[in-house]
């Protein structure tokens, strides 16, 4: 991982088409401005994590797995 220090107002350039500017810095939070082509997805990391887990959850639900889980619940 490349680690760079930037002050408010300074920018990073990624490739030919992406710029990230530090707009504001506070003790607990940084505000970033991102310029990128519309075709480049920009996502908070935790949203990607949630998306992956949701996909996995949906895929994991089958007649057999539902039956097994519900049976275990009701046997309690």
């Amino acid at each position: 991982m490349l680690v760079i220090r930037r002050k408010t107002g300074e920018s990073l350039l990624i490739g030919e088409d992406i710029e990230i500017e530090v707009i504001d810095v506070s003790p607990s939070r940084v505000k970033l401005g991102i310029k990128a082509p519309g075709t480049v997805p920009i996502l908070r990391k935790e949203i990607r994590l949630a998306a992956e887990q949701n996909r996995q959850a949906a895929r994991s639900i089958t007649a057999a797995s539902i039956e097994a889980v519900v049976a275990r619940m009701t046997r309690l």
């Binding site: 887990q53 949701n54 889980v69």
Partner: protein
């Protein structure tokens, strides 16, 4: 009463009160807006979320307090806005909102529950979102403790 076609339950009757609307879907399923909330005595305390748009899209969930009795997440103000709730305080679980943890069934039917990003339903309006809370300290796949579920009511 309307009828929903579902892969798991077959054709089922439902009332509009059981329909939950996700204005922005959920991550990876952004176009899935309408789900049926299904709770049956035979499968309690599981709460099923059945897509009304795709018969084969079904999520299994458990109320968060059943997965983790001491659960205390913090819904972000943007998410409270999206739910149509006051942004100046957390809503009351069970009275104003129903908070559900999506389940993933793994190998050997081992179950994990998503406590990092619970589904939150505004009980008055049936509007729902998935509230992604990276700072909550909870994981996205918490192994379900079966012994902890004994005797739990939904």
């Amino acid at each position: 009463m309307a009828v929903a076609e579902t892969a798991h339950f077959g054709a089922i009757d439902y009332a509009e009160e059981s329909v939950v609307e996700f204005p922005q879907g959920i991550p990876a399923f952004e176009t899935e807006r309408r789900f049926l909330l299904i709770q049956r005595e035979s499968s309690a305390p599981v709460v099923f979320l059945q897509s009304l748009q795709h018969p084969d899209l079904l999520f299994l969930t458990l109320p968060v307090r059943i997965v983790e009795p001491a659960y205390s997440g913090c819904i972000a103000s943007e998410d409270l806005d999206r739910l149509g709730l006051s942004a100046d305080r957390q809503p009351e679980e069970g009275r104003e909102v129903l908070t559900l943890s999506l389940l993933t069934i793994g190998q050997d039917n081992a179950v994990t529950a998503n406590l990092m990003a619970p589904v939150v339903i505004n009980l008055a309006t049936r509007r729902a979102i998935q509230s992604v809370q990276p700072d909550s300290g909870y994981a996205v796949a918490v192994p379900l403790r079966w012994d902890g579920l004994k005797g739990k009511e939904a």
